[in-house]
Structures are given as structure tokens and as C-alpha cells.
């Protein structure tokens, strides 16, 4: 599982622009499908870990009937929760489809589930940013 990101030599402007657009695609792909950004960079171990981490958190969070925030939030905390949940990318809809009975935060389980779902999103955003930086040639 050895993954190396080589330190790149300075590029001329067209090459730089090309690399920048590739990095954006990598970042976006990593956000949409957890681990895809790293997979595009052939960092297989990290790709698998990202996918599994977000997958486990979403599955556990939805299984505990955590609250999956929507865009129709009542206050700033709901909006922040929505941003965190959206961080899971495509897994947001997976979580929605898993929660057939809807959220239940009247018990501690549901509250824990909400945190699991938010953590999945924030972690995926972090991973997508990591993949983006690696694609730009920064040490990762």
C-alpha cells in the first residue's frame, strides 16, 4: 500500500492550467463519490479507507436514525448541519434511502446517528481537499 506523491518540477503556464483543472476534477470526484479522488490518483489504500470510512459512518448514522438535514432548515445550525451532511456527496442520497422510517432524535441513538452522519460529511470534505492538494503536486 505504498503511495508516493512525487514533488513536481515547476511547470509552464499551459501545463499548470491543465494540472489545475485535473486537480479540480479530482477534488469534485472525491466529494461526489468518497475515495474516487484518491482512486484517480492511484492512491488505492487511501481511496479504500475514504470509501469505507464514509460508508460505515453513513450506514451506522442512518441505522441509528440520525437526523439528515435538508435545505429547508430553520436556523443557522440546521444550515451548518445540511452543509456537513452534503459533504458526503452521493452518500447523502444513500443515507436518505437507508432511513426508511425517518430520523428519531428523541433517543440518544438518534442524536449519535446525527453526529455520525455529520462526521462522514466533514471527513469526506477533508479527504476531497487532500486529493485536490495531492493532484496539484503538493506533498500529501
Amino acid at each position: 500500500m505504498a503511495e508516493e506523491t512525487t514533488v513536481q518540477e515547476p511547470l509552464n503556464p499551459p501545463q499548470n492550467a491543465k494540472r489545475e483543472s485535473f486537480a479540480l476534477v479530482v477534488g469534485l470526484a472525491g466529494w461526489l463519490v468518497p475515495g474516487l479522488g484518491h482512486a484517480l490518483l492511484k492512491m488505492w489504500g487511501r481511496a479504500l479507507i475514504c470509501f469505507l470510512t464514509v460508508g460505515v459512518f453513513v450506514w451506522v448514522g442512518a441505522g441509528m436514525r440520525g437526523n439528515l438535514f435538508t435545505s429547508r432548515g430553520n436556523d443557522a445550525f440546521d444550515s451548518l448541519g445540511y452543509i456537513a451532511d452534503l459533504g458526503t456527496g452521493g452518500f447523502y442520497w444513500v443515507a436518505k434511502s437507508l432511513e426508511t422510517s425517518g430520523p428519531d432524535v428523541s433517543r440518544a441513538d438518534g442524536d449519535y446517528g446525527t453526529r455520525f452522519l455529520a462526521t462522514a460529511g466533514v471527513f469526506n470534505l477533508l479527504a476531497a481537499l487532500h486529493a485536490y492538494e495531492a493532484a496539484r503536486g503538493r506533498k500529501a
Binding site: M1, A2, E3, E4, G45, R46, I49, C50, T53, V56, F57, W59, V60, A62, G63, M64, R65, V94, S97, L98, E99, T100, A108, D109, Y112, G113, R115, F116, T119, F123, L126, A127, H130
Partner: protein, 77 residues
């Protein structure tokens, strides 16, 4: 004959039926384990460094979690 899409949907529906029942400690341990492993793989390259980082982070997560739990105990009722 089932298509891959319907098979996937059926699998998702089956998973949805399995409600996750965890105690507070189990939830804490799963959270700590998964986050430690993920941070270890993202942040460290060498296997030995990774393992050390994962174990250390896991231990700290558990210690701090249980510690805060006990610190709140006198005010819980």
C-alpha cells in the same frame, strides 16, 4: 431475471431493515476506531508511523471520551 439496479436497490432495502442498536460505549469505540484509522491513512505514509499514529489517536479518543463522561457524571441528575 433481476437487473443490477434492482439488485442494488434490494440490497439497500435489506440493509435499511437492519436497525443499528449500539450502547454509548460501542458508538464511541466505533467512532474512535474509524476516525483514527482514517486519519492515520490520510496523514501518514509509512506503515509503522501509521500504526503508531492510529493506536495513539485511538487511545486518546477513548481516554478523553470516557474522561469527559465521568467528568459530567456529578451533574447528570
Amino acid at each position: 431475471m433481476t437487473s443490477p439496479a434492482s439488485a442494488t436497490f434490494a440490497a439497500l432495502a435489506l440493509v435499511a431493515l437492519i436497525a443499528v442498536k449500539l450502547t454509548h460505549l460501542q458508538a464511541l469505540v466505533i467512532f474512535a476506531l474509524v476516525v483514527s484509522a482514517a486519519f492515520g491513512f490520510l496523514g501518514r505514509r509509512q506503515p509503522k508511523e501509521r500504526l503508531k499514529y492510529i493506536l495513539w489517536t485511538l487511545l486518546l479518543f477513548l481516554l478523553v471520551g470516557v474522561g469527559i463522561g465521568w467528568a459530567m457524571y456529578p451533574f447528570s441528575r
